[in-house]
Symmetry: C2
Subunit: 202 residues, 2 copies
DNA sequence: ATATTGTGCATTGTCTACAATTAGACTAGG
DNA sequence: CCTAGTCTAATTGTAGACAATGCACAATAT
């Protein structure tokens, strides 16, 4: 059976684009978002745009004031950033524990594929794509372990963390770290997997 | 200066109502939500309703399938529930640490007031209101410590946890536990506050 | 009889128009 | 010069109409 050709709703595409813009720093904190402007930019009406703004607000990337509008949220305070790191580690540690002995060959293929994307993007120097591939790699594990429920919880944390990095931190060891995670999962070595995660999430 | 009479947007009111319905069990898992139905029920158009559905979906209370609709999410698996409890404890522990020595008299007044609501609702047997007051009590602390950013993270966790209780667990020790939290905060005793939290969150 | 295709209905997704609210400029008065 | 008040333009919030999609059931063919 062929993998279902999933059609991505417009609102998700727009949300992805805006998330990238924010993480890449193109949309800086404090920047105000105009509904009509975004609507014309993406060639849709204001309806879907409002959906996207609501989503990103719930994810913490935007802040919305009633009857005033949405703007890009400020960066996290150091202490909150630490908390986010902690929570994210906790979630992903939970994930690898759950996944012990649960991954099929095709799952590892998917992980290898995502790591390949990461590596290639890194070599080319496309850091927005690097970040995307990185997030998808981890998301795969989280989704596999906890489904939509866990992803819902995890998503805001990652993006909020990522906002703070703003092209400063370039994980040059990312490839090796992700490889270590895969290897540990292949060996059902939870301890190593957890350690690799802790090293990768910072 | 008078406390600003804040006007609550319709979509927040509707969201609150639906959250209560879900937590109280009136809207059971698997139940499907009809946009037009909700619109007429609340006397608004479908626009605000769609906003609410998106919010609750992001909070994990609903699941939405594209072009099909939204329905009440299933209860958490035990292991995920444990993870949620863990994360919630972590967030609130962070909160009380941050709040040490930061609370003014009016803050304690607010906490006392919320505890009063909780107590009264409990005596009357209005368990929906008990839950609401309980959540607002904790929310006050979380908001005070981490603002909207932390609340955004915390909200989905609490509601998702609460879904699982469904009128089974009635915290008859709730009043004493909350009082213990307040007392510990008054004495700037983080250790006791943390312990009281751990006892209260389960 | 079974599988497949077609049709109708119900529901969600999107668009346009209008109402409500806000921020900012501008004016008048002290 | 500064403050308070009012007006206007821009933007968000809401409503209602239309388009697109999915699901259930009926019709048809093998």
């Amino acid at each position: 059976m062929r993998r279902s050709e999933k059609v991505i709703p417009v609102r998700d595409q727009i949300a992805d684009q805006l998330r990238s813009d924010i993480i890449s720093g193109e949309l800086a904190p404090g920047n105000k978002l105009n509904e009509q402007g975004l609507a014309t930019r993406f060639g849709v009406s204001r309806g879907p745009i409002r959906d996207v703004i609501l989503q990103l607000t719930k994810e913490g990337l935007l802040v919305t004031k009633s009857n005033v509008g949405a703007s890009v949220n400020e960066m996290l305070s150091p202490s909150l950033q630490n908390l986010m790191v902690d929570i994210r580690r906790r979630i992903e540690t939970y994930a690898v524990r759950q996944l012990k002995g649960q991954l099929a060959d095709e799952d590892f293929e998917a992980l290898d594929f995502l790591l390949g994307r990461f590596k290639k993007a890194f070599e080319v120097g496309d850091f927005t794509e690097v970040t995307r591939a990185d997030i998808e790699f981890h998301k795969f594990l989280v989704d596999k372990a906890g489904g939509q429920d866990l992803v819902n919880l995890w998503y805001p944390v990652v993006f909020r963390m990522r906002m703070n990095y703003k092209r400063i931190d370039t994980p040059k060891d990312g490839v090796a770290e992700h490889q270590a995670i895969i290897d540990a999962l292949r060996n059902n070595d939870v301890t190593s997997a957890t350690a690799a995660l802790r090293a990768n999430i910072r």
